[in-house]
């Protein structure tokens, strides 16, 4: 075999299984569970990646005990009623000749009693830093129950026709809590020395092996560095791997970094953290054991994955978000079509970001994610009679609508008033740390080009221009404009909006105030951009802290580190009420006092934009099939533009 990724497509034996390639869709939460059971959505979701050619799938965690319930949509696997739901998944995945493991886990003290109305269980009665609920230090009867729970659930997975199990002993697990000095303060046989701290893990593995027999795969996922005080570090993890291999019960070692409730931003790293940042872990383990080792950590494309293998860091590569964005990642890689892959942005907006909000997982670029049955591969049917479709606006919404409509066989003309396609994304990616967000447009432009959509830039689409095309359908995706009337005085001369700055239209003065009412990347990005150019920047927001919505995308910690380095001043809890020359008056939300943030040289508005719906209003009633999508309906984030583009493209 030759091509872009030769080693990636070399088979590998893991225990009894022969994997067709080295790509793993490793375990991750989806919030697809219904009534605490695996749903149909799960089955279609995994099937889609199996069809796309991945070598191995590992499901999200299957909880082993009723004391474990850290988030609402956890799968309760400790009841035999899961088995038929398991078979629904394994039937669909096995039909694609893809092996699949079930990850089994107990989250221990990284949980609360909110749903269980029981104390959480942990090695010691120490509150988790996120949940802040003191757990019960498990008694010996409890430990026996934990072990029995793992064995029982392993048996259910086997009856559900999985090919094996993975024990999550890493970022959110009672097993890691026992392994770590940070959380294990016990003085009995389960605490103290490494041997003692490993005891629970070894007892669990032995119990599972006794139940499932030799041919059922057992993989163990270990944390290579907890990144916390007194936490697990790589040397100890290598030792654990060595001992487990010597015990002879396990078939594979998967790796992970960080803990889910303290350093999550290192587990599901956003674009602010370089790719391959966690490879030191599989690399070190692989030197010590012969078992196959899985490496993970923001692997975005097959060339990167291939390099991980050829450089000897791992035997298998976990690729999650890239396959969430493009379920056909593996097939395209195998066919040497890496450039056709819809690259993941590592933006975390709709995948990781929705997890923290207890919502089902999606993808900013791929509305089909989690809705495979409705929008998945193969659901886009060619039309019988091609229509002439005019799409007005070449931002994400318009581009998405154009690709979907064109894919179905319509003849699409895309009109854009600017010289460049991409809408606001063109400017958002001017900020160095946000550059990868630009892949959303790269991916769409690649499709537009392949599909032969007729693109006309620099065209002001008046109703006459649109109607002159004699369209059968019109999609209005005209976006939004800056709102310069939202605050008294915000139309003044020293005021600019975010795009004015990022596009270079306005050059900021020395002293700059950013007014943030959005709480997302707009303010933090423009602040970073100007501070890097040497401006003295302050960000003022009515929210509790600057960048309040950066927490769920895991950008918060690293933006703040950068902000401190660039001396960006962050001022929360203030609502700017008026601007005039020399003054920017703001109300302190809680004291009611007025504070003057002026004088400053430049004021930058990171506030809600205004829908640009003039064309829609003018065309309403004059076009039979008229669609309005994205910001011109109501300015929101990119995912809304993409979803509405997808829906419009399908509706025509």
């Amino acid at each position: 075999m030759s091509g872009q990724a030769r080693m990636l497509f070399t088979p590998l034996k893991v225990g009894n299984l022969t994997l067709a390639n080295r790509l793993v869709f490793s375990a991750h939460l989806t919030n697809y569970a219904e009534d605490f059971l695996p749903s149909e959505r799960h089955a279609y979701y995994y099937r889609e990646r199996a069809r796309g050619g991945v070598g191995l799938i590992i499901t999200e965690e299957q909880s082993t005990h009723p004391t474990d319930h850290p988030y609402e949509k956890l799968i309760h696997a400790f009841h035999p009623k899961v088995i038929p739901y398991y078979r629904r998944i394994t039937d669909l995945v096995h039909a694609e000749n893809t092996p699949i493991l079930a990850q089994i886990n107990h989250n221990g003290g990284q949980s609360s009693g909110m749903f269980t109305r029981l104390p959480a269980w942990a090695p010691s009665a120490l509150a988790d830093p996120l949940f802040r609920e003191v757990p019960k230090a498990v008694e010996h009867d409890d430990i026996a129950e934990i072990i029995a729970g793992y064995a029982q659930v392993a048996e259910y997975t086997q009856q559900g026709n999985f090919d094996g199990v993975e024990l999550q002993c890493s970022h959110s697990s009672i097993v890691r809590q026992f392994l770590s000095r940070n959380t294990n303060h016990r003085s009995d046989g389960y605490g103290g020395s490494l041997e003692n701290r490993m005891r629970l893990l070894r007892e669990i593995i032995a119990a599972i092996r006794a139940v499932v027999g030799r041919s059922y795969v057992i993989s163990v996922r270990l944390c290579g560095d907890e990144l916390i005080r007194d936490g697990i570090t790589i040397d100890e993890t290598v030792e654990v791997a060595r001992i487990l291999e010597a015990d002879g019960h396990i078939d594979c070692i998967n790796t992970s970094i960080g803990t889910a409730t303290q350093t999550l931003y290192m587990i599901e790293a956003s674009m602010r953290i370089p790719p391959n940042y966690a490879l030191f872990i599989p690399s070190a383990i692989r030197k010590a054991v012969r078992l196959p080792v899985i490496g993970v950590g923001r692997v975005k494309d097959p060339i990167q994955a291939e390099r991980i293998l050829t450089e000897g860091h791992a035997d298998l590569v976990g690729v999650v978000r890239a396959q969430i964005a493009d379920p056909e990642f593996a097939r395209k890689a195998r066919e040497n079509r890496a450039e056709d892959i819809r690259l993941c942005l590592s933006c975390n907006q709709e995948c990781v970001g929705r997890m923290g909000l207890n919502r089902w997982m999606g993808c900013i670029e791929t509305p089909a994610t989690g809705q495979e049955k409705l929008y998945g591969v193969g659901t886009l049917k060619p039309v019988e009679t091609a229509k002439k479709v005019v799409v007005v606006g070449g931002g994400p919404a318009g581009l998405k609508a154009a690709t979907i409509a064109a894919r179905r066989g319509h003849k699409v003309v895309l009109l854009e008033k600017e010289p460049l396609l991409g809408g606001q994304v063109v400017w958002a990616v001017r900020v160095t740390s946000r550059a990868e967000f630009g892949d959303i447009v790269r991916n769409l432009l690649h499709e537009i080009e392949q599909l032969g959509v007729e693109v006309r830039t620099g065209v002001i689409a008046t109703p006459e221009v649109v109607l002159a095309e004699k369209p059968d359908a019109v999609v209005v995706a005209t976006g939004s404009t800056a709102d310069r009337n939202a605050i008294p005085g915000s139309d003044g001369p020293q005021v600019a909006d975010v795009i004015d700055i990022l596009s270079g239209e306005v050059k900021p003065g020395k002293k700059v105030l950013v007014i943030d009412r959005l709480g997302f990347h707009e303010a933090t990005s423009v602040a970073e951009y100007m501070a890097e150019q040497g401006c003295e920047v302050e960000v003022v927001t009515p929210t509790l802290y600057v960048g309040q919505d950066l927490g769920v995308t895991l950008d918060l910690e690293n933006w703040y580190r950068l902000a401190r380095r660039l001396n960006i001043r962050c001022t929360p809890n203030h609502s700017v009420l008026s601007i005039s020359e020399g003054t920017v008056m703001a109300l302190h939300n809680y004291s009611g006092q007025m504070v003057n943030f002026g004088p400053v040289d430049t004021i930058v508005l990171a506030i809600h934009r205004r829908a640009e719906h003039g064309l829609y209003d003018q065309l309403k009633g004059r076009v039979r099939s008229l669609h309005r999508i994205g910001d011109c309906v109501s300015p929101r984030r990119a995912h809304a533009a993409i979803i509405e583009g997808e829906k419009a493209g399908r509706a025509i």
């Binding site: 749903f115 923290g356 401190r564 929360p572 109501s634 979803i643």
Partner: protein
């Protein structure tokens, strides 16, 4: 039945005509989110929940809101009132409620800009593109066809409610309602006939009322929920505007009652008010509207005390009282009042501790003081049965867990002796209630103590129980509820000379008489740090709160206490110092680092340092007894220090199990 003790409450038991129907009394269990729905329908769990209140004597139940259009999914488990499948759920609930003689209405609602697009993946609807300040989401300005769809939605939902056998509907034009957003110039900036002057802003509500009345006819009840004050005086509905809104709608003659709530996008915390709002804070708004219209008017706003409720009726400030949370805490409140058992009513604490339905985790509604709330159908809350063999039971520890365990065990026929090492009962709750504004928490333990005395439980205070004592007394079972204790802190953090105290010491007054500068190191971010801060400021201390979180009071958001706390902190001059990790505390200095750049930050001239950290369980006695082969149970903080809700629930459980 009527005797001297019930006389003042008599007014509450007068029937109330609502249109052509009559509610048997003046108690209302108002609409509220529960998160019990499955597939957007009312469930058996709802039926059990409402039935318990109906059986307890409430006269009118307004069900959890039913949304009237597919564009609105404000929370994941909302009731889809537009879906014909809702009818079956209505029937289920109706049957359960009517059996006990109460009336039952659906609440029809659309959240407009206060909804969420996360579930629907559609833009929010609103009169104008005004950003919602909490979600920061910008809604779509409704087009004429959207307005028509909304009106049709209300009509369709009203029809389904009647098909479900309900007595009528309440139309929500109060908090969380697109109708209020149309009524208020704060959110309605339209230039068409639905915006501008009052007549225009009223248009949609009138259209909706007409459409609903047209569907349900004159036999069913149609009520209207209004916001009496949006607490946004610069542009919102002020009390006088609320009267001007209510009067013409009442005159139109199509509605049967008005329920008066308060709040808007800027005042979410008033919608689910906690201990920071005085009971009855919004009743003047109802009184004002009652004075201006000739319809029955319902009052609302932390009405939890029966005396206040009775006074509102007797003084003709309202025709009915919404006592929703009081009825969550004790479903039998009306019956107990009527039977003169005023002292037996389990009080609502207004703490919102176990009523945190608004958080993204979708917690199900329950009650700190009544763990059965929302779990009425669960076998563990079935009526208590007598223990097959009555036992001598020793309960060790007189906090809420121990008292609840003693109460339940006694009710089951056991002979219980309760031991408490201090000189009073109540445990850590007494300390929590010592914080300013949190006095009401003590009602929980006052009630338990009264019940124990009434049941004749032997109470021994000032006794520290040892394993030897237990061996000597030789009870058949022991319940160890010794609570929590301050935790051993990591070495190196506090120098020996540091002026260190824990929250227990502060709240029991063990601090220097002379006030100085106090620094609270808050590792939890909940009511403890807040309570300690306010206790100290009240005694003249200059207080700073240090946390490594992004802001102080991170755990106060669930119970909506954060905003009022921030307001009080400002007023009282408390300095909030977030994003600092404390590394060392010396005799007069707190030394920390910025959590991001690790630059050192010092706070000098410190006279007192309060270490607010999770406690450790007081578990030694439990393990000693267990080892000695005693039949021993534990509950509450003695397992793991948490909150009162867990203590009461686990106390109840061991009382039932022993």
């Amino acid at each position: 039945m009527s005797n001297d003790s019930t006389m003042p409450f008599e007014g509450l038991f007068a029937p109330l005509s609502l249109g052509k129907k009559t509610a048997p009394n003046r108690f209302v269990f108002a609409a509220h989110q529960t998160n019990f729905a499955v597939h957007h329908r009312f469930e058996k769990r709802h039926a059990d929940y409402y039935a318990a209140r109906a059986a307890g004597g409430v006269g009118l139940i307004v069900l959890e809101g039913s949304v009237v259009h597919v564009s609105d999914t404000p929370y994941e488990y909302v009731i889809a009132g537009y879906d014909p499948q809702v009818v079956e759920g209505y029937q289920l609930v109706r049957a359960a409620v009517h059996r006990h003689g109460a009336l039952v209405l659906a609440q029809l609602t659309h959240s407009g800009m206060q909804g969420s697009s996360h579930y629907s993946q559609q833009p929010l609807w609103a009169p104008s593109p005004v950003p919602e300040v909490n979600s920061r989401e910008l809604p779509k300005e409704m087009e004429p066809e959207d307005i028509n769809a909304l009106i049709d939605g209300f009509a369709q939902a009203a029809r389904l409610a009647l098909e479900g056998g309900l007595d009528g509907v309440e139309i929500n034009a109060g908090q969380d309602s697109v109708l209020r957003q149309f009524l208020s110039p704060l959110t309605n900036q339209r230039g068409d006939e639905y915006g501008g002057d009052l007549a225009n802003r009223l248009r949609l509500v009138r259209d909706v009322i007409s459409a609903v009345r047209g569907q349900v006819g004159s036999g069913a009840i149609v009520g209207l929920r209004l916001s009496g004050d949006e607490y946004a005086p610069w542009a919102g509905i002020k009390p006088e505007d609320a009267v001007a809104i209510a009067q013409p709608l009442a005159k139109d003659g199509q509605i049967d009652f008005i329920s008066v709530t308060s709040g808007s996008i800027y005042s979410g915390h008033v919608t689910r008010p906690g201990l920071f709002m005085p009971p009855g804070f919004a009743t003047h708004l109802a009184a004002q509207i009652k004075a201006a219209v000739s319809l029955p008017v319902f009052a609302q706003g932390s009405i939890v005390d029966s005396e206040m409720a009775a006074a509102l009726i007797n003084e003709q400030k309202a025709d009915a009282v919404e006592m929703t949370r009081a009825l969550i805490a004790d479903p039998d409140l009306p019956n107990k009042l009527r039977q003169g058992q005023v002292d037996d009513i389990r009080p609502c604490l207004l703490s919102n501790q176990d009523n945190i339905i608004g958080i993204v985790q979708n917690a199900r509604l329950s009650c700190v003081n009544n763990p059965a709330a929302g779990y009425e159908g669960d076998p563990e809350f079935a009526p208590l049965t007598r223990a097959p063999v009555p036992h001598q039971v020793m309960v060790i520890g007189g906090g809420p867990a121990g008292m609840e365990a003693a109460r339940v065990a006694t009710l089951r026929g056991h002979t219980v002796t309760l031991y408490e090492q201090s000189h009073h009962l109540g445990g850590a709750v007494r300390l929590a209630a010592a914080a300013p504004g949190r006095e009401r928490l003590a009602l929980a333990v006052d009630w338990l103590e009264k019940q124990l005395r009434k049941l004749g439980v032997t109470i021994k205070t000032g006794v520290e129980v040892t394993p030897e004592m237990v061996q000597k007394i030789a009870p058949e079972a022991v319940i160890a509820t010794l609570g929590g204790k301050p935790r051993q802190r990591p070495p190196g953090l506090f120098q020996e000379t540091a002026p260190l105290v824990n929250p227990r010491q502060v709240l029991s007054g063990e601090v220097p008489d002379e006030a100085g500068k106090a620094v609270i190191l808050d590792a939890i971010g909940d009511v403890i740090g807040m309570g300690v801060a306010e206790w100290l400021t009240e005694r003249g201390w200059q207080v700073e709160v240090v946390t490594s979180d992004m802001f102080v009071g991170q755990k106060l958001t669930a119970s909506l206490e954060l905003t009022p706390w921030n307001q009080r902190a400002c007023a009282k001059g408390v300095a909030l110092r977030p994003q600092i990790e404390v590394q060392r505390v010396t005799a007069h200095t707190v030394i920390g680092v910025d959590i991001f750049d690790r630059q050192e930050i010092t706070i000098d001239d410190v006279d007192l340092v309060i270490d607010v950290a999770n406690e450790a369980p007081n578990e030694e006695l439990y393990f000693a007894l267990k080892q000695a082969g005693v039949r021993v149970f534990r509950a509450g903080d003695a397992i793991a220090p948490r909150y009162m809700a867990q203590a009461i629930l686990e106390g109840y459980r061991v009382g039932r199990e022993v």
